[in-house]
Subunit: 177 residues, 2 copies
C-alpha cells in the first residue's frame, strides 16, 4: 500500500535540497515533491459556524472584506460549517485548535450556551480570537467581541486578522456593536 | 522545543488502546490525547474560489443547502477563498489535492482560463468534482458541470456530495444550467 504524507517545515534556505536528497535516499520513500505551502496559498483562516441563515450572512461580509485584502497581497480564507446542537457545536469549537492556520472564529446563531461557552473559553485561552453575534445564551459574554449585524461580524473578523488593515481589538473602547 | 503532531488513522477498534500505550511509552512523547477526527466533526469540504462578489453568492447557496443536510446527520463544510490572478488561482486549484476531505471545487468568477484550465484538468483527473460558473474563458469547458446562477451552483455542489441527497452528476442529461 502506498501512502502520501504532506508536511510543512521551516528550514534555513540552503538546507532544502539536502533534506529532499536525504528523503529520496530512504528506501521507504518512492518520490519527494516540493510544493508551495498551504500557508502561502490559502493563508489565514476565519472559521464561521452556527445556523445556516446566519453563517451565510457572516460569510458574505467576511468574503467581501477578504477579497479587498487579498487583492492587496493578503491571503485570507473564509471557512464555514452550518451546524446545530450544543454538543456538535462545542466539539467543532474545540477542534479549531487542531485546524491549521486558524486565526479567528465567528459564532453565528440565535442561542448558544452551556458546553459551547466552555469550549469558547478554552480556545480563547489557547489564543484564538472569538467573535459572537449578539444572541441569547452565555456565549456572547464569553467572547472577545459581540456584533449584532452578521455582515459586520464577518467584516470585523477579517479586519482583525488582516495585516493590510488597521484594526486592533485590544484598542477598542467597547466590545459590543 | 515541544511539537504537537495531529494525525488520523483507521485501526481495528481493539488496537486503539494498544497504539496509545505504545506511543506514550516512547521517550520522545510527552503526552497522547485521543480526539474525535476532523472527518467526523467538519466532514466533507466544498471549496469555492474566485472573485469575492461571486464567491459570496455561491457560498450563500452552499451554506443554506449544507444546513439542510447537516441537520439530517451529514457533515459538510463550505470553505472559500476570494482570489484574483491566473497564477494564484491555478496554484489554489492544484493545492486542493493536498487539502484533506475535499469533495468538490466551485470556480466562481467572470473570466478564467490558461493555467487555471490546466489545473482544473489535473484535479479532475485525480478524482475531484469541479463545478464552474458560466463565464468567459476556457475553464467552463474543462469542468464537470457549468451553472449560471451562483446560488444554484453552491446548492448543486452540496447536493452532489451529500449522502442525504439524491443527485448524481453522472446521470444528468445536460451539464450546462
Amino acid at each position: 500500500m502506498e501512502t502520501r504524507i504532506y508536511f510543512e517545515v521551516e528550514l534555513p534556505p540552503a538546507n532544502e535540497a539536502l533534506l529532499i536528497a536525504e528523503l529520496e535516499a530512504l528506501e521507504v520513500v518512492l518520490s519527494v515533491t516540493e510544493v508551495q505551502s498551504l500557508q502561502k496559498i490559502y493563508g489565514k483562516r476565519i472559521i464561521i459556524m452556527g445556523g445556516g441563515a446566519q453563517v451565510g450572512q457572516v460569510a458574505l461580509g467576511a468574503i467581501s472584506e477578504a477579497d479587498r485584502h487579498n487583492i492587496r497581497g493578503e491571503h485570507i480564507s473564509v471557512d464555514t460549517i452550518p451546524l446545530v446542537g450544543e454538543q456538535a457545536l462545542a466539539a467543532a469549537v474545540r477542534a479549531c485548535n487542531r485546524l491549521a492556520r486558524v486565526r479567528a472564529l465567528v459564532l453565528a446563531g440565535s442561542l448558544m450556551g452551556g458546553d459551547i461557552e466552555a469550549a469558547v473559553k478554552e480556545v480563547r485561552a489557547a489564543g484564538l480570537l472569538v467573535i459572537s453575534l449578539n444572541m441569547a445564551g452565555s456565549v456572547p459574554d464569553a467572547s472577545d467581541l459581540v456584533v449584532t449585524d452578521p455582515v459586520q461580524a464577518g467584516v470585523m473578523a477579517v479586519m482583525a486578522v488582516a495585516d493590510t488593515a488597521k484594526f486592533t481589538i485590544d484598542r477598542l473602547h467597547r466590545r459590543v456593536f
